[in-house]
């Protein structure tokens, strides 16, 4: 196998450089074609927000591609000097490149271990490259295998368990309180960027109505039109709170906007609905945490959500070792299979050629002895020649298979071809 995986990721390049080296889908397709044409190899370029990687390989023959050439190519494609790109790059060859791709697809090499997006991105990248015609036998076998490995890891380990975005954790808490959302009111207080992301997750629950309030009426109207909600004047905050089931608070207020006293005196007596869930993701906090009782009012602030996120990540990290063991097993399976595929045609050809030689010797011999031998004797002679042939070929074939397992059967394969005059 002649495979190289060369690239940079969040560990070797900062976001500024990653942005410069990133490929748009169009540029990605062009660059892959260019690389394939220039080096006569199969190419897949993986470009995500956290990594840019070139997978270059050939089913037969050596690959001329290395880190310097990759740096030069990336620099040339993105208008950067190669020397600036070279220190950012890492490279893997053959089996380690296979392992790297498996780890990437299974998100073992991701910023957030176990995140689910990368497998989809790898799949999409491979499909695009295949349509573009820059893949061949090696990549067509490698990428589906890496994706299967990623799926196996997700299924057999808890690497993807739980949610690790603050917004998803917030929604998980909401789901512990409510099951039905068509009759629920979501109140958004403030218009912070983080709030918009959480609101997006809450919108997926399809709540009955969304109310938006902000000290700036204009911002409230803007956010309300963005999320299909209704703007409520800031002065009516207590009314809105008494009607709400879920509150998303993201103001930039220096002091809590809802103290325990205010809640108990002005809001609680007017509430007729069920439990109130407050997602207070503002810093400093908008709601006094003393309001939280886990029954009628549940207040979750950014620290609570981040803590759960960290717990989930710690939980996922426990599954890294079993996942790595799967990667090792799958890499071995792929390399063995690939070598079998590569040696298979040569071994078959060798057998056919020697069969022909045997027939050339045995058939005239049997013709000469025709009439002097019984049927059983003829069969015995044929069997002896077959046995001789098998014993003769056993050595070269076993040596080829051993060399395959050790990952270096290329020169031996060539030697066998030359020795036995195989085309």
């Amino acid at each position: 196998m002649n495979l190289r995986a060369i690239g940079c990721n969040f560990q070797t390049a900062n976001v500024e450089l990653r942005e410069k080296l990133a490929f748009t889908p169009e540029r990605q397709a062009f660059a892959a074609s260019e690389l394939s044409a220039r080096f006569g190899c199969e190419t897949v370029i993986l470009s995500t927000c956290n990594r840019v990687e070139l997978y270059v390989g050939r089913a037969q023959g050596g690959s001329p591609f290395d880190l310097d050439l990759a740096a030069e190519f990336l620099g040339e494609t993105h208008g950067l000097p190669g020397e600036r790109v070279r220190p950012l790059l890492y490279g893997h060859s053959d089996a380690t490149a296979v392992a790297h791709l498996c780890r990437v697809a299974a998100s073992l090499d991701s910023l957030i271990v176990g995140e689910g997006q990368i497998a989809g991105q790898v799949k999409q990248t491979f499909e695009s490259a295949r349509k573009q015609g820059t893949t061949g036998p090696l990549m067509n076998a490698l990428f589906p295998h890496a994706l299967r490995t990623a799926k196996r890891i997700r299924t057999e380990t808890g690497i993807s368990s739980g949610h690790v975005s603050v917004s998803s954790v917030a929604v998980d808490y909401v789901r512990q309180v409510f099951d039905y959302f068509e009759d629920k009111t979501v109140l958004v207080i403030g218009a912070g960027k983080m709030g918009k992301l959480t609101l997006k997750h809450l919108q997926e629950l399809k709540p009955g109505r969304i109310l938006v309030t902000n000290r700036s009426p204009q911002k409230a109207v803007e956010l309300a039109s963005y999320c299909g909600g209704r703007a409520v004047p800031w002065e009516k905050l207590d009314d809105a709170l008494s009607e709400a089931d879920i509150v998303l608070s993201t103001t930039g207020a220096a002091e809590p906007i809802v103290s325990q006293k205010r809640y108990q005196e002005l809001i609680q007596p007017r509430r007729t609905g069920g439990t109130l869930v407050v997602l207070d993701i503002a810093v400093p906090r908008d709601f006094d945490p003393a309001i939280h009782d886990g029954d009628r009012v549940c207040v979750f602030n950014i620290d609570d959500l981040t803590r759960v996120r960290e717990q989930t990540l710690a939980q996922r990290r426990k599954h890294i070792a079993p996942a790595e063991a799967i990667v090792v097993a799958e890499v071995k399976a792929f390399v063995d299979d690939w070598q079998r595929r590569k040696n298979g045609p040569v071994i078959q050809q060798l057998r056919t050629e020697v069969d022909k030689v045997r027939a050339d010797v045995v058939l005239p011999l049997l013709a000469k002895l025709d009439g002097k031998l019984t049927h059983a004797e003829k069969e015995y002679i044929e069997g002896a020649f077959k046995l001789f042939q098998n014993k003769l070929l056993h050595g070269p074939i076993a040596a080829l298979q051993e060399a395959s397992r050790e990952g270096g059967s290329g020169s031996l394969l060539e030697a066998v071809k030359k020795l036995f005059r195989l085309g």
């Binding site: 949610h163 998980d172 512990q176 939280h292 549940c298």
Partner: protein, 275 residues
């Protein structure tokens, strides 16, 4: 007289099946494996089948304490089995099975005590008349309602506790949402109360007509049932008139269940007289 294998079914068969099923379900909470769920379900099904066979063969009288507890345990076992299949991800069995096992255990205690002879009560002994049977059924179904309200309340309190402690929402024991549990509690009490009311009135009429003695009126069974009715009425009042919800209603529902068990475990005036 030939003895069929089914006649060999005892409390041990279904009691042990339920205990083992509970063991697997608890293990599933810690190690969520499909195999544990399957084993739990298989043992639960065995328990339910043997329990059903026992009831069909021995016809325990619902008027007898051990019989009413065993019947209630059976209805809750059906509830457990349905819930475990329907709410596959939830730790349903972990809450329902202990109640089933507890009721079976209590029934066994009562059968080996004073009422040991009741095991041979031959026909379905619902009472002396059709009205006695109706009275028994109404109270049994009311008991199911109170039991379901109790289970919903226990789950509610556990879920509320998890929320109060802000535990990882996707970690640990899986329970239905507060909203769903509250709705389950509400529907169960709404259903139990009218059944309990009519059953109680019917029982009062029967008692007045046939066994009208001071001792019967002041028996633990009658007083307990009136207490249960009062708690159920209070539950409805608190929910609909006083707008109380959540934890306090859950605690009251648990009290109602405790009264129900006490009522079922005490001797029935009708049965006492019949003896």
């Amino acid at each position: 007289m030939t003895v069929t294998p089914l006649q060999g079914i005892t409390y041990t068969c279904f009691g042990l099946s339920y205990i083992l099923a509970l063991g697997f379900e608890i293990a599933r909470v810690r190690w969520p494996r499909a195999g544990l769920r399957s084993l739990g379900l298989i043992l639960g099904a065995v328990g339910l089948l043997t329990h059903t066979a026992y009831l069909a063969l021995h016809h325990p009288s619902p008027a007898a304490p051990y019989g009413s507890l065993l019947l209630l345990a059976w209805v809750l076992a059906v509830f457990y089995f349905y819930g475990t299949i329907h709410h596959a991800r939830q730790a349903w069995a972990v809450f329902v099975l202990p109640v089933v096992i507890g009721l079976v255990g209590l029934s066994l205690l009562l059968i080996t005590g004073d009422n040991a002879n009741d095991i041979h009560v031959p026909p379905w002994s619902f009472g002396d008349t059709l009205w006695g049977a109706i009275h028994g059924f109404l109270l049994l179904f009311a008991g199911v309602g109170v039991s379901v309200a109790f289970l919903a309340s226990v789950m509610y309190l556990v879920q509320a506790r998890r929320l109060r402690d802000k535990l990882n929402p996707l970690g640990g024991i899986k329970i239905l949402s507060l909203e769903r549990l509250e709705a389950m509690n509400r529907r169960s009490v709404n259903l139990a109360f009218p059944l309990l009311t009519v059953g109680l009135i019917l029982g009062g009429i029967l008692l007045k007509r046939e066994y009208d003695t001071i001792e019967n009126w002041w028996s633990l069974k009658v007083l307990g049932t009136v207490g249960l009715w009062s708690v159920s009425a209070l539950l409805l009042y608190m929910r609909y008139a006083a707008n109380v919800a959540g934890r306090r209603l859950a605690v009251l529902s648990i009290l109602a269940f405790a009264l129900l068990v006490a009522v079922l475990a005490t001797a029935h005036p009708f049965a006492e007289v019949a003896k």
